[in-house]
Symmetry: C2
Subunit: 413 residues, 2 copies
Amino acid sequence: MSELREQAGKVKEAARALAILPTLRKNAILLAMAEALEKRQGEILEANAVDIAAAESKGTSPAMLDRLALNEGRIYSMAEGLRKVAGLPDPVGEVIGGGTAASGLRITKRRVPLGVVGIIYEARPNVTSDAMGLCLKTGNGVILKGGSEAVASNAAIARIMTEAGISRGLPEDVVCFVSDTSRECVNEMMKMNGLIDVLIPRGGSGLIQAVVRGATVPVIETGVGNCHIFVDMSADLQMARKIVVNAKTSRPSVCNAAESLLVHREIAPAFLPDVFAALKEKGVRLYGCPESRKYGEISAATEEDYAKEYLDLAMSVKVVADVREAVRHINRYGTQHSEAIVTRNIENARYFQEMVDAAAVYVNASTRFTDGEEFGLGAEIGISTQKLHARGPMGLTELTTYKYFVEGDGQIR
Amino acid sequence: MSELREQAGKVKEAARALAILPTLRKNAILLAMAEALEKRQGEILEANAVDIAAAESKGTSPAMLDRLALNEGRIYSMAEGLRKVAGLPDPVGEVIGGGTAASGLRITKRRVPLGVVGIIYEARPNVTSDAMGLCLKTGNGVILKGGSEAVASNAAIARIMTEAGISRGLPEDVVCFVSDTSRECVNEMMKMNGLIDVLIPRGGSGLIQAVVRGATVPVIETGVGNCHIFVDMSADLQMARKIVVNAKTSRPSVCNAAESLLVHREIAPAFLPDVFAALKEKGVRLYGCPESRKYGEISAATEEDYAKEYLDLAMSVKVVADVREAVRHINRYGTQHSEAIVTRNIENARYFQEMVDAAAVYVNASTRFTDGEEFGLGAEIGISTQKLHARGPMGLTELTTYKYFVEGDGQIR
């Protein structure tokens, strides 16, 4: 048996004790972890400096360096995140169904932890503290496998949190930080059926697809968002322009940012020149269909552009005949994340919401709202783009499963 | 593109229309299907005779032939099953959460169909009508891939139901019956990401493990049950004997039947001779640990016996020191299906229920109750032994996902 499997076995075993830890104890552990992150920030910043130096020597891009860099403010945010999770209601133990069966059996359907959650992630070191906090609050053991570029920072964060947790009663071995950042190690994690109950990849679409394709352990697919805004014929064009500009430019690197603009043919002449100007002013590169290109100097879109999650100041544009063509286009190229229609027509709004296959379907609002915070979940481990188990923002509840507790007095069947 | 992929694409497209079909329409379709099965039973029996003849010529076992065989009574049961599903509440459209966000967005979390469900199954032709009924009631397209031994029967059932459905407004192409029973075809189905939303294997553990290991499409693992009964020191021994005999012998071929008996060392002398006699009287072969074999003439258990789902009149036996050893044994060898303790001790009951990792954990009752009917779900597409999405008996609700419907009046972020 490999060392990783052996460690995972220990996590699984330790997670059984964590699963029944009272909420008050778990909250105390999270608060101690937050305090330790702040108190021992020197160690974290030192480790982070090692990662940054290595990244710089490899010629890493400034944007990437920024994602990697920690400072006092960012460490404070990580600690605040843990305090916030400590303050959220604990879903573990919640009764979500049941009754007395015809046989007289008393059946209680109760939320319980998933068991062991595996997180495979890239870049941002704050994922280490976020994911650990959410998994521990929900009574799950956690195996963390971060990217090589942040390995020193991640290891320091995990070590400091674990030590602080154990001092407050966290069962030993419930957290496993995998410092081996090799590809083989990821491959092994993906096949650890019986040791890992669910695998959540967080990162770019390359990572996510590799995990979805390669894993035999159940996976929750997250985060890739090729989101569209469809501006219908009857749209309030001023509202439409604001929504498009916001959805594209307010934070282009996140998954709920819009990547593609669909415009009804009838209002294209009135809308496109205006929105092109507004987007160009924000530095957005535009790739359009032949018809859209009549309304501004923009590049030609390829088939690839329509399927692309730019995560950048770039956007594809297409003129469509009606809401039906818009829906067909979205169901073909979208990633089932977040989609929006801007319209005044109630029938088209309903048709769009019913027929578009996505986690969140908006009428007259920016796709940027798809988020655990905005949806009232309090915190978020990721945004699911699959349909099994969880769809859209995943909070604490989505890190649980349930168990039937059944009590009888000798019933046989 | 293969023919199967092309067909699956049509199912996916057609399923969008099915997803918004009103409940009354879906119920009328199910009732018409039930009627057609009865009216056209001659065709079904003819097809079944072809399957039976082929099976006989291959020297198939009598038990297998019995599972394959249809008659008027069994066809009536299939029709009754459809009528029952028609009478169940429709989960599609149910509002399961939401509210008005701080931004003023109105968020409604509503159940929607999964999309396209793939069922890979063996033997019993009634799975064809059961699975079709449950998937259609929940607005899902369905791709059915039955075993080669029942291909003529399954094809006849699917054809008759589809024709009757279409005559009452079922969108064409929402059902795809795969008559190619080759292994390659199963392999292809397992990789149809984007075309199949979930794959549910129903059959023996060989089939289920092959699908879990080979699929890149999300899978719900069902049905393998290595269920245990632990008889604690304080148990009512008469109750314990009844529960053990019932759980083992009332229907040994099903997944909620008990496969293993654990007995507290202190009561082994008082309990084992008695329960061995009762089990032997029912024809049960016993495989025990050295200590258990002091109490009766039974075979020696191997490590393999403890991991085995016999699905037959056979049972493994082990004497344990206490509830902790029982729980450790179950968590090591069990399949997270159904587990039971017989005890009068409230602490041990609680410890067992909390610590055993399974879909249903019983106190003083037979494991045989883990069933959609008994749990009040009305019908069942299978029993999940995984933790994602659904655990234990899966009814109509488990064949849905949800979607966030979000309405604004120009919100940007």
